[in-house]
Amino acid sequence: MVFKFLRVNTTTGEVKFERVPEKYLALGGRALTSQLVSDEVPPTCDPLGPYNKLVIAPGLLSGTNAPSSGRLSVGGKSPLTGGIKEANAGGIASQKLANLGIKAVILEGKPAGSDWYLLKVTPEGAELLPANDLTGKGTYEVTAICRERYGKKVAVITIGPAGEMLVPAAGVTNNDSDGNSSRYAGRGGLGAVMGAKKIKAVVVDSPTTFDAPVKEPERFKAAARKFAQILQSHPVTGQGLPNYGTNVLMNIINEAGTLPTRNFRFGRFEKASEVSGEKLAEVAVARGGKATHACHPGCVMRCSNVYPMPDGKVCAPIEYETAWCFGPNLEIGDLDVIAKLNYICNDVGLDTIETGCTLGVLMEAGVIPFGDGEGAVKALEEVAGGTPLGRIIGSGSANAGRVYGVTRVPAVKGQGIPAYDPRACKGNGVTYATTPMGADHTAGYAVTANILKVGGYVDPLKPAGQVELSRNLQIATAAIDSTGLCLFVAFAVLDDPEGLPTIVEMLNAQYGLNLTADDALNLGKQVLKVEREFNLKAGFTSADDRLPEFFSLEELPPHNVVFDVKKEDLDQVFNF
């Protein structure tokens, strides 16, 4: 099979397949989106203008039977941060693109007119179709219509009304096997970039899921089987994640005193267990939902869930960060309210973390009282209507803070800080401050060694060792994000010396290469260098690699700590 780029010029309407140039053949996922953005997007361009591009890429292992390898990377220049962005999603689109031999879909240019389009991709080719009839509709309805029109098994990559309105907290979603349009490449406003290209949806129809080309099938099969065993035998990936999903974190982060509560004022929430993964599993199962569920076929960790809501709809899944941002962060202790807020975000097309941080800022400003679930739902429902308050919510936490004169705004590079307070989980604080992505917990998930005691232990309350921890995790994450493997494989890979070599063995068998573990880490370093270089050219300086001031001024109970990793040390993170 010849690997292809599918390039769509939205200015002219031209759709063409290109043979992938040599330099991109060994790249996938985040490595590919970031390299393409670096090569083709001027760093100082307007994120919503004709020079930005939206790049959608499966990972290197996606579309094979490597376990948990169906992650999708979406890249571009972020309207939220002004820097480079890779947002990573589950769902079924990645495997389908890979099975069609498509290494990346590149949406470029900007149409002059007001018409909207749908990009349809099948084994026969690709075409732009009129899609004005889909505009204004939520992602659930768009996905249902597309599955009706093009077949139940298609993947639908789409944006909601928020993306159409070009608000900077808009995400790009795709669906799981059940048709839930909830698998978001949520962060950084890439939904607005897709909206600027006037592409409402990309429909991917592939008859196969696991048949991406593999050079040495027997060797690959053996390595994939071994990797599945590594995941299944590690207590976190084999038991913890399948049993309770990611929201199992709620209680341990609360006990560790690093659960941001009431817009990052406290480190514990008295109703944490009411919105935890244990409670979620209990309620979901009692209502006929599921406590474990795979976001894409072939995942062995199955950390997703299906939560039936009182109104008869289902929210699938409720992730930890979402439960946190609409729960403890807003002092809301009711899973049904969290599910409702989550569902509205999925439907209207907003990143949940950013939206939760923004609602926290609005509560800080007194626009909505803390703990007022009904008020939060009502405010969020205004986004679809495009009211001024709705647009402020869609504009993200940093913008909302400016509008309302709030200084306690948890954001770095304009992107909201997720569910681990950087004062009592300092390794994640280093990651939030320094990752080229803006505050992003996944970019270097130091919660592992700080709280979960996976991959060693570094005291979360002291600055010592955090820079090195974050650096190593950021490098490893950039590599994993390029493979299409779910980042959660890291829980096993960090502890099992066979983990990384087995990933490398899969890559070698698939592509006929002779990579070593060092090559994989060098790929991670290369990705970070490319991303950081883009940001420097876009105008970022070391002043952007800092946490908001209040984290060093206000002590976080119960440990009464501030963020005290030195600025000079933060500037050493990329010294490799």
Partner: protein
């Protein structure tokens, strides 16, 4: 002496009266360690992966003090 114990993520099945996040008060001898508490609660030692005492990571050898808030977890992850 009395300590305040919370068990999570499946460990509650070993402890009568415990629910996820529900604090139970447990009488332990003066000078008891975390390991002693786990034994007394009849939780299999290999099921406990992480112990917090007052929000700080603790080893099984840590000596408990009256009124300590103890939290016990099996291996978990997410993110």
């Amino acid at each position: 002496m009395e300590v305040e114990v919370r068990v999570f993520s499946g460990l509650e099945k070993f402890v009568p009266g415990a629910g996820p996040g529900k604090a139970i008060l447990v009488q332990v001898p003066e000078g008891a360690t975390g390991r002693k508490l786990i034994e007394q609660l009849q939780i299999p030692a290999d099921q406990v992966f992480t112990m917090f005492v007052n929000g700080w990571h603790a080893t099984p050898e840590q000596v408990l003090r009256p009124g300590d808030r103890v939290a016990l977890f099996p291996p978990i992850g997410g993110g």
